[in-house]
């Protein structure tokens, strides 16, 4: 077997906190091939951003490490470009200048001034933002700013594109547009992508593989799901595709059944039958309600309906 493009081996991470050491990640193993689109999905606070930051080199793993094309990653660099959740554009630079900052730094030796100008323009066109090149981030919408953030990352011609909930702060329509744009770009450039998301549909639509993380502390890879849907993918036709529905359900099942209860799941599930000391039922109740709150309320509604029917 050929060597993987990007490999995480035995990555563990503990943070020093005032309350002592906190182990966020435990022995994460992950192999990613060139051109693969991988989504990281998991409950809030499980450690997805931490994994991404370790790959980016912004954090150092306490144990294990990350290897990209045979080289160990131990500091940030432009070959692992990051798209941040909140665009992270310099508010004092225009759209053009923001991309220029990256292009100037990465290609100052290899491109002429004119080549750089064309390359910046090309990347802005890729995300459909050339028309706003001379606007400041404060003068454009969140979705547009996010596109510029993607253009900046792409302009570094990275070997790996790392995205931390890139569309998390956007409305559904803008999000759908950007997902389509990203799909097209990724297919054209065949770049390796790791994307964090909370959105199951987004993960299934975009990914070649979905990596599902268990709840923290000491989170690790719970399940991996290969998405074998043909590309190019179309969100409208996929919606009824039985395979798509199946993948979607597999992810949902993992998130909302296997990982339903953050923390100690067995104990909370058993909470109803086992008689517990006075203050403990309250705790069990809270834990149980949080993720499954929709189900339980539906349940009580049904019961109410039944009562009304009977009377």
């Amino acid at each position: 077997m050929s060597k993987p493009h990007l490999e995480l081996t035995g990555v563990s991470m503990s943070f020093d906190t005032p309350q002592g050491s906190f182990q966020a990640l435990d022995t994460i193993n992950l192999k990613i091939a060139k051109g693969e689109f991988v989504s990281l999905i998991g409950h809030s606070g499980c450690g997805k951003s931490t994994v991404l930051n370790i790959v980016a080199g912004l954090l150092q793993a306490s144990k294990g490490g990350c290897i990209l094309d045979g080289q160990e990653v131990n500091s940030p660099g432009p070959e692992r470009a990051v798209v941040f959740q909140h665009h992270a554009l310099m508010p004092w630079l225009t759209v053009y200048e923001n991309v220029e900052l990256a292009v100037k730094q990465v290609f100052r030796k290899t491109m002429s001034k004119q080549e750089r100008r064309d390359w910046i323009q090309h990347n802005l066109e890729l995300v459909n933002m050339a028309h706003a090149a001379h606007k400041r981030p404060g003068e454009i919408s969140g979705g547009m700013a996010q596109r510029v953030g993607i253009a900046r990352a792409l302009s570094m011609r990275p070997r790996v594109l790392l995205m931390d909930e890139p569309f998390g702060a956007l409305d559904a329509l803008t999000r759908a547009h950007l997902q389509d744009a990203l799909m097209n770009i990724q297919q054209d450039l065949n770049s390796t992508v790791i994307m964090i998301t909370h959105d199951v549909d987004e993960a299934v639509l975009l990914s070649d593989r979905i990596v599902m993380m268990t709840n923290g502390p000491a989170a690790t890879v719970g399940e991996e799901l290969r998405i074998d849907l043909p590309r190019p993918r179309n969100r409208v036709t996929l919606a009824d595709d039985p395979e798509y529905v199946h993948y979607r359900q597999a992810v949902l099942r993992f998130l909302y059944e296997k990982q339903r209860f953050p923390g100690k799941s067995e104990k909370a599930e058993a909470g109803d039958e086992v008689s517990t000391p006075a203050e403990q039922p309250a705790v069990a109740e809270i834990i149980q309600r949080e993720p499954g709150s929709i189900d339980s309320s539906a349940h009580t509604d049904k019961e109410k309906a039944a009562v009304i029917e009977h009377s």
């Binding site: 310099m90 004092w92 730094q105």
Partner: protein, 325 residues
Amino acid sequence: MSTLTTPNPLMQLLRRRYPDITGKSLLQSITLPALGIAVFLVLWHLVAPQIDTSLGQFPTPANVWEQAGQLWDEHESEQARAAKFMDMQEARNARILAENPEAETRMRSYPGAPTFIDQIGTSLVTVLAGFLLATAIAVPLGILIGLNRYFAAATNPIIQILKPVSPLAWLPLVTMVVSATYVSDDPMFEKAFITSMITVTLCSLWPTLINTATGVSQVNPDLVNVSKVLQLPFWTHARKVVLPGAVPMIFTGLRVSLGIAWMVLIAAEMLAQNPGLGKFVWDEFQNGSSASLSRIMVAVITIGLIGYLLDRVMLLIQRKVAWDE
């Protein structure tokens, strides 16, 4: 009908500068301050005669206004005399040269005492020099402190201790050190100027320093991460990421610093007999004529007005420079 809609140029100007002001609040924004000033003047006018000093009664607004005119007249006549003095010298030199083209001629500067207006000029130059020096020290140092937390921890106690020191405590030391070290046969600046300037610098650099350091350390961590991913060299990082992000905080510090610089300067001039507005006040106090108190009051109001104007100028510069305004 048409007379009612004739635009009032003052109102138009105000409306252009404050577009969100409605007619009613526009009226308020002019009448209320005017009313405040009027009430203040009336109170002053009523209270002043009740205060007797060894130099006579405390001046009323009318006395002060009169002395302000007086000071201006003195300045004008003094300038006329200086011009005449120069003319006479030139005429004399021309005569000497006519008799003997080889002769050496000299021009002496006018030996008259500086007027109130001259003193204002001196004070302004001194305060700006001291403030610029303070800025040149405080901004770069603040950036270093804000970027490096070890450096910040090391410098913090010294900054905290030096910050509250009064100019009066620094002054004797600065005077002695300047006298000892600034020796030259043909000095470019007066010693008194250097002393005042350094005292101003020492007292006014702290707010800029602290605000710069705080502003730099609070730059959005996402932006710092972008800089790390790009592997920006230190200077590009400082110039393109850190400094612009800290500009609003730096300017807040600069404005406080300039205010302090102006206050410190007046005190320093008074105590050290350095030329400037402070010396004018002191001289009048020593002079003890019946007009002295009025003249000091003129100086007080001038000092206040200039302080206010300096702050407005800083605000204008801030609006030009800062990206968030």
